[in-house]
């Protein structure tokens, strides 16, 4: 690729990656957070004990977690078409990215919520707090640093997945690296995309760490 073409191509690819990661991360947060709360709440001895619900949710999450992303992506192509009307392009890539990341983040949410001292939850219940209040005013605020750290890990994983999504026409940096760096032996493009991906991941992780630290008062 000529130097004149390189910059616009990189910018476009970076934009596509950002778009895929941002929207899938947002959807993951919106879906994964309640799912994680449900996993904890339906536990035996949880806020709304429901072992059957817990077993089903846990099973679904485990299925999602056990599929390699590239398999999941291909396997749900019909679903993707149903939702977005297409199976290629950046928007289509957001569907498998979200479905891959939701179970992952839900487990991280579950772990973070379990880290909240049981005594604190009981203290709130002893004060007459309702279950909704316990979740909204005790569990989530107390687990916030862990929730942010989990989201950071999820975003980093999504950046990785998004490169694979490029393989089915999702575009983005991964797509650029494969088409030019790999298939056309353009080492320059390969190196630049690798460096770019490393820098982005570092930035995301540092930002996530900073926010989590700021939020923690332990």
């Amino acid at each position: 690729m000529s130097a004149d073409d390189l910059l616009p191509a990189l910018l476009q690819a970076t934009g596509e990656t950002a778009q895929m990661v941002f929207w899938s991360a947002l959807l993951t947060l919106l879906l994964g957070l309640p799912l994680g709360v449900l996993l904890v709440a339906t536990d035996r001895g949880g806020l709304v004990p429901a072992p059957a619900v817990k077993a089903v949710l846990g099973g679904v999450v485990n299925v999602g977690r056990s599929l390699p992303f590239i398999v999941l992506m291909v396997a749900i192509l019909p679903f993707t078409r149903l939702v977005t009307g297409t199976t290629i392009g950046t928007v289509a890539a957001i569907v498998p990215l979200t479905l891959g990341a939701v179970p992952f983040y839900a487990r991280l949410v579950e772990t973070a919520l379990r880290g909240v001292e049981r005594a604190v939850v009981e203290a709130a219940q002893a004060m007459g707090a309702s279950r909704v209040r316990v979740v909204a005013r005790v569990l989530l605020p107390e687990a916030l640093p862990g929730l942010v750290a989990g989201l950071t890990v999820t975003v980093v994983a999504l950046i990785g997945y998004s490169a694979m999504a490029g393989a089915i026409g999702g575009g983005g940096l991964g797509d650029l690296a494969i088409r030019y760096g790999y298939q056309r032996f353009d080492t320059t493009v390969m190196i630049i995309t690798v460096v770019l991906l490393v820098v982005v991941v570092q930035l995301v992780q540092s930002l996530g760490d900073l926010v989590a630290r700021r939020l923690s008062h332990r």
């Binding site: 001292e117 005594a119 604190v120 009981e122 203290a123 709130a124 219940q125 002893a126 004060m127 007459g128 707090a129 309702s130 209040r133 005013r137 005790v138 605020p141 107390e142 916030l144 939020l215 008062h217 332990r218």
Partner: protein, 351 residues
Amino acid sequence: MSPSYFGYNLPVIHVSRLRKVYETGVVALDGVDLDVREGEIFGVLGQSGAGKSTLLRCVNLLERPTSGTVTVAGQELTSLDLAALRRARQRIGMIHQHFALLSSRTVAGNVAFPLEVAGVPRRERATRVAELLDVVGLDGKASSYPAQLSGGQKQRVGIARALAAHPKVLLSDEATSALDPGTTQSILALLKRLNAELGLTILLITHEMHVIKAVCDSVAIMREGKVAEAGRVADLIATPGSLLTREIFPLPEPAPPGSVTVTFAGQAGEPVMSSLVRRFDVDVDILGGSLEDVGGVPSGRLRIRIDGGKRAEALDYLRERGLVREHGPEPVDARQPEPETGAETVAEEAR
């Protein structure tokens, strides 16, 4: 044993035939009756595993009893639906061994929490929080986070939080067990002060006798899920062979032959020992003793041996003053041979 009271106040906490059997089959509470009168500090003493923690958690129904009833301030909690129970819980404060504060909130935020639950408007909350922090001696710490406080300060936050919604009753779950002795004393003093100034009824559980001695008006001693003994501390100390006296004033067991154990609570004014020697011409030997200040009353248990002279009359003298509670086996003293048929006249009450 069902507790009997000589007081005139009505029970503000009434626990009746409470049983709690866990799914594992463990019987944590095996038919517990308890009455806590308004305005008193009631201590439940027991080793870990005796069921005291389960009992306390049953009082605000954090734990559902298997059977039995719990009534607090005239309301039978065990018959309420969840919404009504939540409202009732707002009137029952609770403090915890490990404080159970929200680490994500400041001191003021923690104290405000129960007020939010109770739907108190923001402005009133701020006023009440400032007032409470002043009461527990934490003004100036409002915007600190719990992690920045010492254990004693954290428990003060816990107490302020528990008092926020003007509860009638305060439940204390080993509130001083995680604190050092000096801090424990200051927290106990604070509880005592709140009890006196606000008329707050306090039900506390502890495994530490010194907590009972320092602040409790009444006590229940729990063993294996049952109340083994209950009553006013002052009455139990004056009760022959009560568990409480044995636990407060430990003496080596078994008592040696010929010994007599004298228990007293607050009696003074008459020099008993010297009267004994003068009037009955006996030798008095002190074998052991234990003295304590129980709720401001000097009390103790003294094991003595009385020899020679009019020993029997000397013992009568002690009994008449309600001092002799227990005695050892028959004396085998060569100077004072006693028939083995039990001529010892100290016919003692049940132990």
